[in-house]
Amino acid sequence: MSLGIWKGVAKPVISGMTITLKRLKHRKVTVQYPDERREHYPRTRWRHFLTMYDDGLEKCIGCSLCAGACPAKCINVVAEENTDEARFSPGERYAVRYEINMLRCIFCGYCQEACPTTAIVLRQDFELASYTREENIYTKDMLMEKYPGEADECFKPSAAK
C-alpha cells in the first residue's frame, strides 16, 4: 500500500514539481503589455502621420498619388490652390481635406512609398481600436503632427518605453 502511494502519488508529484522548479529560472517571455511595450522594428507600419517642414509648412501638396496607390481605396484627398494670403504648403496646392479610413486601411505602406514629398509616413502607434466606425475615419486634423518632427519622436532613444 505504501509502495502504491509512492509510485502512484508522490513520485509523479515530485517529478512534475521538478520540471516546474526548473522552469522558474528560465527567462520570462511574456511582455506585460499595458505596462511595458515590446520593441517594434523601425519600419513597423501602423498609424499614419502627415508631416510638416521645420518652418511649419505642410509637406503634403495634395497630389492624390497616395490615394491612387492605395489598394484598399481608403484615402480621400481634396486639393486646393495655395494663395499668398493663405499658404499651407510650399507647392502650388495643398490638401484641404485629407481623410484615411483606418478600418479599411491595410497598412501596406504604399502611400508612404508613393508620396513624392514624404508627407505621409506610417509610425508605430498601434492602439487604434474604437467603439464606432466613425471614430476610425481620421481627418487631416488628427493625422497632421502637432509640431515638426512629432512623427519621428518614436525613433529617438528617449522614446523607448
Binding site: 511574456t30 501602423w46 481605396k73 479599411r104
Partner: protein
C-alpha cells in the same frame, strides 16, 4: 418611483444604444450589477471564430509571449454556449454570414463582439461581391480593431477597451445588447 428615462444615442450600425437605464433605479441592484460587471469584464471567454489570417494573430495572442490569460480571456471555447465574446477574425464571406449570425444567436446573454482586422470591420481590400462589407451588417459590433492583421498587442488593447465598456455599464441587459429596436427611427433621425 420616477419614470425611467431612456435616451437613444446614435450607434454606428444604425442600432440604438439605450442609456440612463438606472435613473431612479435601485441602489442595491445597481451595486450588485457593478460587481457582476467586474466579474464579466475579467472573465471574457472568447469564441473560437477564426475566419482567415487574423486568426493566426488571435492564436498568438493567447500564446505565452502576449498571454491573454492575464486578462482572463485565455479560455477559447469551441461552442457558443460557453462563450462571452465573439472575436470575428478574418474576412466574412456572404456564405459565412448566416452561420455567423446563428452562432451569435446561440451565445448566451450577455455577449459582445470584437471585429478584428480590416476585412471583418469594413471589408478591407476585398470590396467585391463575395465579402460582407463589415461584420456589423450581420451582428452588432462593440469594438473595431484596425490592422491587417492587427498585432496581438492591438487585439489586447481592444479587449481592454471592451472591458472598459463593460465596466462603464454600457452593454449589460437584454435591451442594451441591441438585438431589436424598440422605437424605430426615421431616416432623418438617424442622419441628424
Amino acid at each position: 418611483m420616477p419614470k425611467r428615462v431612456e435616451t437613444i444615442v446614435l450607434h454606428d450600425s444604425s442600432t440604438p444604444v439605450l442609456g440612463d437605464l438606472q435613473k431612479g433605479g435601485n441602489v442595491v441592484v445597481t451595486s450588485l450589477e457593478t460587481l457582476l460587471d467586474q466579474a464579466r469584464a475579467h472573465a471574457l471567454w472568447p469564441l473560437t471564430f477564426g475566419l482567415a489570417c487574423c486568426a493566426i494573430e488571435m492564436m498568438s495572442t493567447v500564446a505565452s509571449r502576449f498571454d491573454l490569460a492575464r486578462f482572463g480571456s485565455e479560455a477559447f471555447r469551441a461552442t457558443p454556449r460557453q462563450a462571452d465574446v465573439m472575436i470575428i477574425a478574418g474576412r466574412l464571406s456572404k456564405k459565412m454570414a448566416p452561420v455567423l449570425r446563428q452562432i451569435y444567436d446561440q451565445m448566451p446573454e450577455p455577449k459582445w463582439v470584437i471585429s478584428m482586422g480590416a476585412c471583418a470591420s469594413t471589408g478591407g481590400v476585398y470590396n467585391n461581391y463575395a465579402i460582407v462589407q463589415g461584420a456589423d451588417q450581420v451582428v452588432p459590433v462593440d469594438v473595431y480593431v484596425p490592422g491587417c492583421p492587427p498585432s496581438p498587442d492591438a487585439l489586447i488593447f481592444a479587449i481592454m477597451k471592451l472591458q472598459e465598456k463593460i465596466k462603464r455599464k454600457e452593454a449589460r441587459n437584454f435591451k442594451d445588447l441591441r438585438l431589436f429596436e424598440p422605437t424605430p427611427r426615421t431616416l432623418e433621425e438617424v442622419q441628424s
